[in-house]
Subunit: 435 residues, 4 copies
Amino acid sequence: MTTPLPQPTGQMPDTSIYERRESAVRSYARSMPRQFNRAEGVWMHDNKGGRYLDFLSGCSTLNYGHNHPVLKQALLDYIAADGITHGLDLHTDAKAEFLRTLEDVILKPRGLDYRAMFTGPTGTNAVEAAIKLARKVTGRELVIAFTNGFHGMTLGALACTGNAAKRGGAGVPLSHVAHEPYDGYYGPDVDTADLLERRLSDPSSGLDAPAAILVETVQGEGGLNAASPEWLRKIATIAKRHGALLIVDDIQAGCGRTGHFFSFEGMGVTPDIVTLAKSLSGMGLPFALTLFRPEIDQWAPGEHNGTFRGNNHAFVTATAALRHFWSDGQFLADIRRRGTMLERRLDAIAGQYGLTTRGRGMMRGIDMGSGEIAASVTAACFERGLIIETSGAHDEIVKVLAPLVIDDAVFSAGLDILEECIRAALTVTYGVAAE
Amino acid sequence: MTTPLPQPTGQMPDTSIYERRESAVRSYARSMPRQFNRAEGVWMHDNKGGRYLDFLSGCSTLNYGHNHPVLKQALLDYIAADGITHGLDLHTDAKAEFLRTLEDVILKPRGLDYRAMFTGPTGTNAVEAAIKLARKVTGRELVIAFTNGFHGMTLGALACTGNAAKRGGAGVPLSHVAHEPYDGYYGPDVDTADLLERRLSDPSSGLDAPAAILVETVQGEGGLNAASPEWLRKIATIAKRHGALLIVDDIQAGCGRTGHFFSFEGMGVTPDIVTLAKSLSGMGLPFALTLFRPEIDQWAPGEHNGTFRGNNHAFVTATAALRHFWSDGQFLADIRRRGTMLERRLDAIAGQYGLTTRGRGMMRGIDMGSGEIAASVTAACFERGLIIETSGAHDEIVKVLAPLVIDDAVFSAGLDILEECIRAALTVTYGVAAE
Amino acid sequence: MTTPLPQPTGQMPDTSIYERRESAVRSYARSMPRQFNRAEGVWMHDNKGGRYLDFLSGCSTLNYGHNHPVLKQALLDYIAADGITHGLDLHTDAKAEFLRTLEDVILKPRGLDYRAMFTGPTGTNAVEAAIKLARKVTGRELVIAFTNGFHGMTLGALACTGNAAKRGGAGVPLSHVAHEPYDGYYGPDVDTADLLERRLSDPSSGLDAPAAILVETVQGEGGLNAASPEWLRKIATIAKRHGALLIVDDIQAGCGRTGHFFSFEGMGVTPDIVTLAKSLSGMGLPFALTLFRPEIDQWAPGEHNGTFRGNNHAFVTATAALRHFWSDGQFLADIRRRGTMLERRLDAIAGQYGLTTRGRGMMRGIDMGSGEIAASVTAACFERGLIIETSGAHDEIVKVLAPLVIDDAVFSAGLDILEECIRAALTVTYGVAAE
Amino acid sequence: MTTPLPQPTGQMPDTSIYERRESAVRSYARSMPRQFNRAEGVWMHDNKGGRYLDFLSGCSTLNYGHNHPVLKQALLDYIAADGITHGLDLHTDAKAEFLRTLEDVILKPRGLDYRAMFTGPTGTNAVEAAIKLARKVTGRELVIAFTNGFHGMTLGALACTGNAAKRGGAGVPLSHVAHEPYDGYYGPDVDTADLLERRLSDPSSGLDAPAAILVETVQGEGGLNAASPEWLRKIATIAKRHGALLIVDDIQAGCGRTGHFFSFEGMGVTPDIVTLAKSLSGMGLPFALTLFRPEIDQWAPGEHNGTFRGNNHAFVTATAALRHFWSDGQFLADIRRRGTMLERRLDAIAGQYGLTTRGRGMMRGIDMGSGEIAASVTAACFERGLIIETSGAHDEIVKVLAPLVIDDAVFSAGLDILEECIRAALTVTYGVAAE
């Protein structure tokens, strides 16, 4: 059987309606000027007949690919039967089923005892709920976040986000958060966890006692920096020693992306609070959760709420996804095999051109040295039918976020395109040829 | 034909999974301890065979009722055809169709020239985007909001919300917002718009120059206080005179609830920014929009973003809803007739017991004088199979938020139940009997 | 004996050193371009031989006039004897003597039980200490201040200040303070204390529970608005009911200016905290105190400090001033007689020209209707040798702040000059002639 | 001639008036429970006839000793002649004379072109003015301060202060300031200026673009950490590169304490803004200045003000001090000789007991390893008649801040007492005997 390949047509859509009626804030549509209409698995189709291979996966929202048939059927059946669509925070069959599945398939096998808070169905809402809870429980205001961290765009989460352009959009100074250096920020010789401990142990450092330490184990937007288990364990110990809660923001790295369901598995830490969103619904539907230890579930009823915290369609597809992919070890084995495949392939490319790689599991990238070169790579990929994006403070990392379900041969074909585009970009820029 | 009536069974569901795994923050589930599984139109069904009449409508999220067949079919067709589910902010057929419909069915006929910003699909995200934009455009920080206003739970929107219990959940002081008295706040003899003008005209009042004035025309959560057109026009004039943008938060009052698509129609004001969510998707799917004049569309690409800002399922159902209900005047006529019916009925009940009513269009309520009495009314209604909730600073308003599509006879039957429960509650409390 | 009169020479000093070396922030020196070198009592002398009558009194810092001989001698003796000049917060004879005199001459006769905190010797430091303490004691953040209030220029006190130009200098948004309307702010028919009570009693008003209500009984900078005893008592009751501390900022109105030592005497309120500065040292030396009930003296040692909190020269002159002026009732009788004289005179002038007066005791002024006219009056006065300034949101009030020790005949002569200049200014502006 | 020695009597004063009427916030009076009444040069006298040698100098406020005869006489003459005492910001002979002297004696010889802003006469007011100006000039909010920095107690300056106990007194979260590691904070191998550059160059570090970098060249309260010239030059370069103003807070280290008038002299940097206070008046009178380059003198008239910004007594003594001590190089030579003497002596003591020393010039100390031991040393010194205090995050540094005018023999005798008390404390604690 032949491996299917992307088939872009190169035809541009009519974009007049967007120019007339959509805000200038739109962004992906600018670098990928097509109008899409259909998608299944790893493939997206535009309205001119073009076919694109998706190495972006909705920024890790589509770990199981587009419109996975099992999830799709579950949703069709549910809708056809007039299942509750919008349920505020009322009990519904779909929610009960989701909670039971979360308990049986995810929490129990991992020995985790968390309660689930259904926040408004976006990641930033989950982060806002997490830091509110940490502040309430500890009676402190300061949240320690990290350089290059990305946690959302509403004011509470945005204060935790490192990116200056995003922060500038706030229009007010962002307060009650300190950004400390992430693992490796000052190079391999400086243990930034030690620096943090030094400052928190010093009553005159100017760093107030924190309510929480908020960390991504891999910084999806911030350049695919991956924390080491040792560093993460130190951070967990520091949090505990100084009376702060440890929050792992697993919105991008969770749901299998790193080769575990939770990205912190196997690292020797158990966060007090975990945020999930993106791939949680499995099908790309808006859904977010804040999980936490029962002991800190100190919310008053309705103290944090939101109209769409009962998105039952998402409960249905999330339940189907947990059951289908996480009931046994097959999917995990697949992810890990593909993660290793990706690692080897990127290392080989990087080695050839003197570049470096970043990341963990199935979230990895190559540092192109500048945002300009990285943008030329992704633009060339798109011309070839490969949807791929950048990451990092300067958008200098070309980032592979393929669906975790991608067929190995297709994956390989996509990486071939990427390699060719990198080679071409470097040749144009530096006149480099592969050795 | 007999008018269908609620048929509650009184049987309680097994709630152990919620107690074990859902956060204590859940609230509606406490006063309505049933597990729902199915719904159509104005009816919700629990898993013990009970049927409930919905006078809450997902807090005005289900203006067209549950699972409206036209919307449902559109969504089933779209999913079956593998339409794009999650599209970041990429162009899709579903988005283009939605924008065109918004333009043709809503904006053009009303002479409104707005651009649409697809924010994260919750109301609070839309509000955060609105105040960010106002701060950016004006270069000012302060937002003027109003007593009893409700605008969301993320830190930026929460700062605009009046409710002390919600605000207390922030864990940090809420800044950059001043709450001024809403229309009628100090009684009928004090024009609070004049008070605001007085303060803004005084360079020594301590009230900084505002970026925006953020207002609901009817305060859905804050007690169904309805602003008069005169007051609203004054506020609009004040905003303009002092260089502030006027933001109408139409999340609860919009999408037909007041007898217009936008709640500010016919009041002689054109907001600079409008937020929509709740009933926008028509079927209860998460969807939110921030609309604004093209002149203030000063966003940089991606300056505000969010994973789920391209919820294409919602685009599909929203498009179907706009076309089905808003292409001609039939639906509007129905809403207004039902609004008048509701007004008369509540006025009659209130008159009988010396109570007062509040609200406008199809969002009206009765002030029971205390939260305790109001809670006893809604609890009694629920026992009779009527889902209804309270509003107001002390939860003292029993609030009727029936689906706008409700059959007149069913509506009347539901209001009969409400009246009986009010009578019973007042008899218990005061020994009052109807005259 | 002839009443001495001002004798300005009209000669300008050499100001090159100021232009070269002093910041552009200087202000009084611009409208009074003379170089002064000597002063005694109510008279200031410039270095060209001119003599000026002082109706400004260092903004009420020189209630006992310049260089009062009793205070001057006490200070000369102290310095000659090598008395401690700078004592940090160490015990010194001078401090003990001051505390004993404060207790005997001021506190005991008034039945007041306060502890004294020696803050940094400026009014703004005293206010910062007051609001810090209130926040610590109550565990709350919000301070309620009033429209047109002036409390200082450091960030904590500036947030409590109403003036937009001063606030704008902060360079950061000013937080944790709400400005509510002062007595009479919305005209005689609106009781603004009732408005405040309404908002604080409403859990959904958006006004958080306050740590303190901070009020001046007469707003010295804000336009000489004088609170009525009834209003002030209501404010005190509101503070108590809502768990807030009542802080009276008596920096400008205290030390006799209103006809009492404390401006709140005789009004039926006892503040929890009082701030004093300006005339406290009696001779114009930097000195400030924060007084409070012993029960709320919850400071940890050194929790608030400052290098110059032990300005012993000021202790010496303050002690001499308290003893000389406040040991019996003579000075009070003089102030009240002069206050009545001032009231009658200003009322007569105002009546003649259809103007209104403001203030209480020896801090009164005439509202000239515009800052421009007021400035023309004070400029004309200065040309005639009378030093006088304006107050109010638009600098529209010509403000008489004569030394309290002024001789009646000299006072009358000064008021003659003022009247003539007002007449002249109004004639120029409106062509008005006295009737 | 015999070297005079301290002669404490050990008699305690009557402190009842303090217990009754002074706030619990008093601190130095607790560890030095005497009542002082007289002082000259390096000696303080209590009211029981005891004599104390002052190694604290009002925390570096009395660099020229107590009541220096030249300054004292100048002040006596000025007061006797009825010189202006309190002058708001009016031109006075005393101010002109001070400005001319500052220009001639300090600025011109050092090639510095600064304008002087007379702030409220406390250090914290000067710092507040400095950061306000920096924020105004740059249009940015964030100030970068350093670990262990101390800048004052009003809210703006307190936000820049590192000490947790002081910060906790604010009662509100302290915002708009980031504390970065000072020189040597992470040990000798980590160049913290490089860390700062790394973060400011990274648009995703979460550190917003700063308005100012605020630094002490020696941290007087924070443990006598002395920045190296190399580090300070890097910081200056970083400030310039990133559009921030460099503010040197020279309140404690200025006025000769380090062996230069300004502590930054000879280090290769010229700050944009400098704050001075403490020893500026020379005699311990409240006085503070904010100096800055004329180009950034962007204040509007009166935009920052304060009642006591014209403390003319302080102008008189400051002028006398500048002329007497700074007109030629004699005083500097004396300071440097004594600084070297102090360095050798402390190094010798430290070497003997395995301790380390800190500081520069005449502000040096010994790290006793714990606050407990340091407190026992200073208590023992006080019993022997030596007034000396601690510094540092844990109050672990015994700090020598002798008057700069101290006689060499007396200095030596005081250091003998210190050495003996250190020896005794270490013997008690560790059983260590000098080798």
